[in-house]
């Protein structure tokens, strides 16, 4: 099971017949297992890692840290779910340290992002303060380096 996941995490486009060859399971078994993994929510979604800079799409990303005051009966989950509902929010995590929640936000411009934080996030009752860090450059995303790797210097023939 983990073997299949490890392969899919690397390459979600891999054909079940090829996964079968790689793992030693039959193609049918691979299909059944993948279906199970999808149905049970272990596989949440198949996604591509895109270097938008190369497309010329000038998205602006920001990491925003929030200090939260918890209400009488609501925990972090409730406020986190609420913030997660905004399309602009790409990720949201409960973190340790000075702040409580860490968000990644994507917008079309800096103004766009600043506006979103000021209008939508800072105004929430439980949000005590916000710190916004604009992303200047992304070097690695989801385990994928976005810079050119040096070519291997391995010899073509060796004993």
């Amino acid at each position: 099971m983990n073997e299949i996941l490890e392969i899919i995490e690397q390459d979600p486009k891999k054909d079940p017949s090829e996964i079968a060859l790689l793992t030693g399971y039959s193609e049918k078994e691979v299909q059944t297992r993948i279906k199970e993994l999808e149905d049970s929510g272990i596989i949440r979604k198949y996604k591509a890692v895109i270097d938008w800079d190369r497309v010329g799409e000038e998205y602006v990303y920001a990491i925003i840290e929030l200090k939260i005051t918890l209400g009488d009966r609501s925990g972090y989950d409730k406020i986190a779910h609420r913030i997660a509902s905004f399309n602009e929010v790409r990720s949201i995590r409960l973190i340790s340290g000075d702040h409580d929640l860490s968000l990644t936000v994507r917008g079309q411009s800096m103004k766009d992002v600043a506006f979103f934080v000021a209008e939508k996030i800072a105004t929430l009752d439980q949000v005590q303060n916000t710190v916004t860090h604009f992303v200047l450059k992304t070097y690695k995303e989801d385990g994928v380096p976005l810079f050119e790797q040096e070519k291997s210097r391995r010899l073509a023939i060796s004993p």
Partner: protein
């Protein structure tokens, strides 16, 4: 002007040139070659190990080390064998760190071989053993292993090769170039013959961590074998550290000290930077190693199935990262196959005959390459065969 031919020693003239050289020269200058001819991992040394090397340089560790190697490294090596195989070697006088396993093999041979001594080796095998035996003044006695027996050496074959001049046998499983492994019962057969004739075993187990479908048996873990075995190993294959050159030899103190004697007057010590990396590899490298083994295993299944589908009969290799298919069905010799495949389809493989005559008719194909490359290689071989 000196006459070069007259200047060379008689001994060096008896060492046959490496059969691999020719293919190396052919590949040079060719573009877009997919190489299955490589005897090393395609992975780069895991970053935490490289980082340890860098840090050691930053701290200014650039001196010689003890001839035997850093004691912390010898301790880490000793601990790993205790944990993995239940064999105990004292890091003080039973472990010698060398510049790769090749140096360790050379030291072992030079420490024990007298002129006229015979050293048995099973073929196909790594290209260095035979020249190593010749250079140390001994006579190599090759024993041919066969496809039918999945390239294992049997006790009977060994017994048949023993004479009153036999000094030692070189065992090398998991095997380069065949990917063959020896099960525990196979090794026990060998141990029986070793005991009967008081042989020394030089066991090169550098691929021990790369086994699939079953754990490797360390030869010196067999009953009574620790006292008559020089165990050779290193970090090149298990931790993708080939170019850093860290190997080691372990064995009875008397033998290790004899090897140390040669080592201290020739190599002095393995490079300290690489030794520092090796300590990190042995202490914290297990997870990276396991991930690499899982990846090799996938490629192995994929590639061996692919070869068999193309009609290149290949037994299931259970160790190292080589497949050893037969080209019999094509009617070609293995050299012919390899040369034409390279010229027509730009896929480099090494003909089996390079690893001993009995390897003729087979190819060594390394699957230590990315999956996409293996896929393209299979497509090109298919094109070549059609």
């Amino acid at each position: 002007m000196i006459d070069i031919k007259k200047t060379l020693s008689d001994k060096i003239k008896t060492v046959p040139p490496s059969g691999i050289r020719k293919y190396f020269d052919m590949v040079i200058g060719m573009d877009d070659v997919i190489s299955l001819g490589v005897g090393e991992p395609d992975f780069v040394t895991p970053w935490h190990i490289r980082e340890a090397c860098i840090y050691s340089l930053e701290k200014g560790f650039t001196s010689y080390t003890s001839n035997s190697g850093l004691i912390e490294l010898r301790e880490a090596i000793s601990d790993s064998f205790h944990n993995d195989y239940g064999v105990d070697y004292n890091p003080e006088d039973q472990v010698l760190v060398t510049t790769g396993v090749s140096e360790a093999a050379d030291l072992a041979l030079r420490a024990v071989v007298n002129p006229g001594d015979e050293v048995i080796l099973h073929e196909p095998c790594y290209v260095s053993y035979k020249p190593g035996i010749i250079l140390s003044g001994g006579t190599p006695v090759p024993v041919s292993t066969t496809r039918d027996n999945e390239f294992r050496l049997t006790g009977e074959q060994l017994e048949g090769a023993v004479t009153d001049k036999t000094k030692a046998i070189i065992l090398s499983y998991p095997n380069n170039p065949t990917g063959a492994v020896m099960r525990k019962q196979d090794l026990e057969e060998i141990a029986d013959v070793v005991v009967e004739h008081d042989l020394l075993v030089i066991s090169d187990e550098v691929y021990d961590k790369l086994t699939y479908n079953g754990k490797h048996t360390c030869f010196s873990s067999l009953n009574g074998m620790e006292d008559c075995t020089i165990l050779l190993n290193g970090l090149s294959k298990s931790h993708a550290m080939t170019g850093l050159r860290v190997g080691y030899a372990m064995g009875p103190p008397g033998l290790i000290s004899a090897m140390l004697l040669i080592h201290q007057y020739t190599m002095l010590c393995a490079p300290i930077t690489a030794q520092m990396g090796a300590i990190e590899a042995l202490r914290n490298g297990e997870a990276d190693m396991q991930a690499m083994v899982r990846e090799y295993n996938r490629r192995r299944r994929f590639f061996v199935t692919g070869l068999n589908r193309l009609g290149l009969d290949c037994f299931e290799p259970r160790g190292a990262f080589y497949a050893f298919p037969s080209v019999e069905s094509t009617g070609m010799t293995s050299s012919q196959f390899a040369e034409e495949l390279l010229q027509q389809q730009k896929v480099a493989v090494v003909p089996g005959g390079v690893f001993g005559q009995c390897g003729d008719g087979f190819l060594r194909c390394s699957y230590a390459s990315g999956l996409d490359e293996l896929k393209t290689a299979l497509e090109r071989i298919e094109e070549f065969l059609s």
